[in-house]
């Protein structure tokens, strides 16, 4: 957890800066609005954390979010009665895509970078084919409530964070970190590495489904809803001090990374800097965070107490 302290300091600093620039932020409605906006990314970051800490990547979540929203709109088509069946279907789709990603990575031994890059392209291609490039149909009010009403979004976020923390405290969490830290050692000590990794991918798929439900609810149908979300999620996780390659990092810090990223975007927006600069900022963060992590590692090795 020690690695995670800087991110909380940065987050606190950013929140103070937002509050100074915009006092409305401190009012319940203002803060609720912020939480509502963070929720999808925070949940995606939690999902991405499981995959990254186990030593893999999931680049498919952005396209998966788009698929979820577009499928939901097409199937619901404004019909309230379809809300719950479609919600269930979305969860199943998320888990299924995760399962396939996990099986291809572990059983076929395709590096997850390639597996999920392929999945990303397949999913976005499939959406394009199915919709002809523009989504059809409409979401019901019952569906949109989750993303539109701040209370719901915050509730879902709380459940997701709690579930993630509990999972990491359970045996699953320990084996997941072991698999990411040293796969061979983990296998030798009886960890079913493939199984925990597949499970991690399924959690990531599930997080994309939930994020899709929230994002679709927030702003309605759009074929661009998931664009570049995979990179935002990875940036958030890295920002939270989680090591790419696996084995180190805390899920709460990854979620704090998502909060920090969104806070940074909000602050930039408040100062009238937005648009293309968001990508540049993300790029700088992702490189700087990994570089900082790389610099720290040799320093740790030098200290005799750690060896």
């Amino acid at each position: 957890m020690k690695r995670a302290i800087p991110i909380f300091l940065v987050l606190a600093g950013l929140l103070v800066a937002i509050a100074v620039a915009n006092p409305y932020f401190l009012e319940p409605a203002g803060f609720l609005g912020f939480l509502k906006r963070v929720a999808p990314l925070a949940i995606l970051a939690a999902g991405q954390y499981f995959v990254i800490v186990s030593g893999e990547f999931d680049l498919s979540v952005g396209s998966l979010v788009t698929v979820e929203v577009v499928v939901a709109a097409r199937l619901i088509d404004g019909d309230e009665a379809m809300t719950w069946p479609v919600l269930a279907l979305l969860i199943v789709i998320g888990l299924l895509v995760g399962l396939v990603n996990g099986l291809v990575t572990t059983k076929l031994r395709v590096p997850s970078f390639i597996t999920t890059l392929g999945a990303m392209l397949i999913l976005s291609g499939a959406v394009f084919l199915w919709t002809g490039g523009a989504p059809r149909g409409a979401l019901s009010q019952g569906f949109r409530v989750f993303g539109r009403e701040g209370v719901w979004a915050v509730l879902i976020l709380l459940v997701a964070v709690t579930a993630a923390v509990l999972l990491m405290r359970a045996d699953f969490g320990r084996t997941l970190i072991a698999a990411g830290d040293n796969e061979r050692a983990a296998r030798l000590s009886g960890v079913r590495v493939d199984r925990v990794r597949v499970f991690a991918f399924m959690l990531s798929g599930l997080s994309a489904a939930v994020a899709g439900i929230l994002l679709g609810g927030f702003a309605g149908v759009s074929a661009q809803v998931g664009q570049s979300l995979e990179f935002q999620a990875i940036t958030a996780v890295v920002l939270g001090g989680v090591v790419l390659g696996g084995g180190r990092g805390h899920v709460v810090a990854a979620i704090a990374g998502a909060f920090t990223l969104e806070a940074l975007f909000t602050l930039l927006n408040l100062h009238g800097i937005s648009g293309a600069l968001e990508y540049a900022v993300q790029g700088v963060i992702i490189i700087a965070a990994v570089a900082a992590g790389g610099l720290r590692l040799p320093a740790l090795r030098l200290s005799p107490s750690k060896v």
Binding site: N22, Y24, F25, A29, G30, G33, R37, G78, F128, G132, G133, A134, P135, R136, G137, A138, R148, L215, F218, A219, G220, V221, S222, A223, Q224, V225, Q227, T266, N269, L270, H271, G272, I273, S274, G275
Partner: protein, 404 residues
């Protein structure tokens, strides 16, 4: 903020270097849009908050389009897709040949609801004409390079006429020029930088669209009111023209433009941006948009913030029209009518029959107002349907467009 200051300082310096910083008086702008940003035109009063004028701004085109809004179109009033404003007819006798015909179409993309509605409408128009024995269409999927090879491929297919909806203006120009000697070419929607096509079909244009929205806000929002302008992305000529015309109108008005933001046409981003502006300014009195696809998301930002929805500029999509009626909003919907997708087929047949067509076929471009809202709101059509499809009397309506 800093960027804006730099921009303002730069434009002030440029303006100081010129003889005068009065607003341009018309007809003096260079006809070529690509050359320079014409510094004298960028000296907006700093208080307007609209930034520099677009380098795509061409005064003569602007004046022509604004004038066309009040001109009466020639042709049948109940078929606006056959009407033309101030047509300069050209002779097409040299293209005359006997049917049946093989028409070809190189489409830029079908990647948004506007193009989907248009594409459906065009296919239904083809079905209306027995003399068309074959209709070959290639979708460039929004890629210039694919469209260039599509156009080359279509020339080898024995088309009697080639319809092109260019993906981008400059890049597609050589491909269109290359096709002209081989086959009669009809260009519509976005233009090209050559006059070799037999006819270029378009609604009045982006300046008229942008001005319609801005003038509505200037009329409805009290002096000193705060206006937020939402644009999709910079650098696309039709969208630049819409903003350029709105900027000219806002600069002359008493309104304060508190922000000009790019949304990428993304609903979530639009909603976040609008929420931020509501939080920052407390009250926004008007929202101008260069396209209506994310208008509903922007309206929802006000609803979710518990703020009254201000005067709004949208477009003719059903979701916006529905919201307008349900919320009893103060709104206007400039349009870029999808019925323009019918016209190229009609034009192609006219050309092949040797009938004269307008060199530049300017279609009427109506705006939907409070009075005409009821006519265009069609609750049985999909939310993303565009009302000005001119397709209501076609045999496949409403099923082919996804309606009930």
């Amino acid at each position: 903020m800093r960027r804006l200051l730099v921009a303002l300082a730069a434009s002030a310096l440029l303006a100081a270097g010129c003889a005068s910083d009065l607003p341009p008086t018309g007809a003096s702008a260079p006809p070529d849009s690509g050359t320079s940003a014409a510094p004298a035109e960028t000296s907006a009063p700093a208080s307007a908050g609209t930034g520099e004028q677009s380098e795509f701004f061409v005064q003569a085109d602007y004046d022509a389009q604004l004038a066309m809004r009040t001109q009466t179109a020639e042709g049948p009033a109940d078929k606006p897709w056959e009407q033309a404003i101030a047509p300069q007819m050209v002779d097409t006798a040299k293209y005359k040949k006997d049917g049946p015909y093989h028409l070809c179409f190189s489409n830029a993309a079908v990647n948004n609801p506007w193009r989907q509605v248009g594409w459906t409408t065009m296919q239904e128009e083809v079905a209306l004409h027995k003399e068309i024995k074959e209709f070959t269409a290639l979708d460039a999927e929004g890629k210039d390079d694919k469209q260039i090879s599509d156009i080359a491929e279509l020339q080898a297919k024995g088309c009697d006429a080639l319809i092109i909806s260019p993906n981008t203006t400059a890049t597609l120009t050589p491909a269109v020029s290359g096709a002209c000697p081989a086959v009669p070419v009809i260009v519509f929607d976005r233009g090209v930088e050559t006059d070799c096509p037999v006819t270029f079909i378009k609604p009045i244009g982006g300046y008229a669209f942008g001005a319609d929205g801005a003038e509505f806000l200037i009329e409805k929002v009290p002096a000193g009111g705060k206006v937020l302008a939402l644009r999709i992305l910079p650098g696309v000529d039709v969208l630049e023209n819409r903003w350029a015309a709105a900027k000219v109108a806002f600069d002359k008005s008493q309104l304060e433009v508190v922000g000009v933001e790019f949304t990428d046409g993304d609903a979530a981003k639009t909603k976040s941006i609008v929420s931020d502006y509501i939080a920052r300014h407390g009250k926004i009195d008007g929202v101008w948009m260069d396209a209506g696809a994310t208008a509903v998301a922007a309206i929802e930002a006000f609803e979710d913030a518990g703020a009254p929805v201000p005067a709004f500029v949208g477009e003719d999509q059903q979701d916006f029209l529905q919201k307008w009626k349900d919320g009893n909003l103060t709104a206007v919907a400039p349009t870029y009518p999808t019925y323009q997708w019918r016209t190229p087929i009609i034009a192609a047949l006219k050309i092949l029959k040797g009938e004269e067509v307008p060199k530049q076929w300017n279609l009427p471009q109506p705006k939907i107002t409070q009075e005409s809202l009821g006519t265009y709101l069609q609750p049985d059509m999909p939310l993303l349907h565009y009302a000005l499809c001119g397709c209501e009397s076609m045999p496949g309506f409403p099923g082919k467009w996804g309606g009930k």
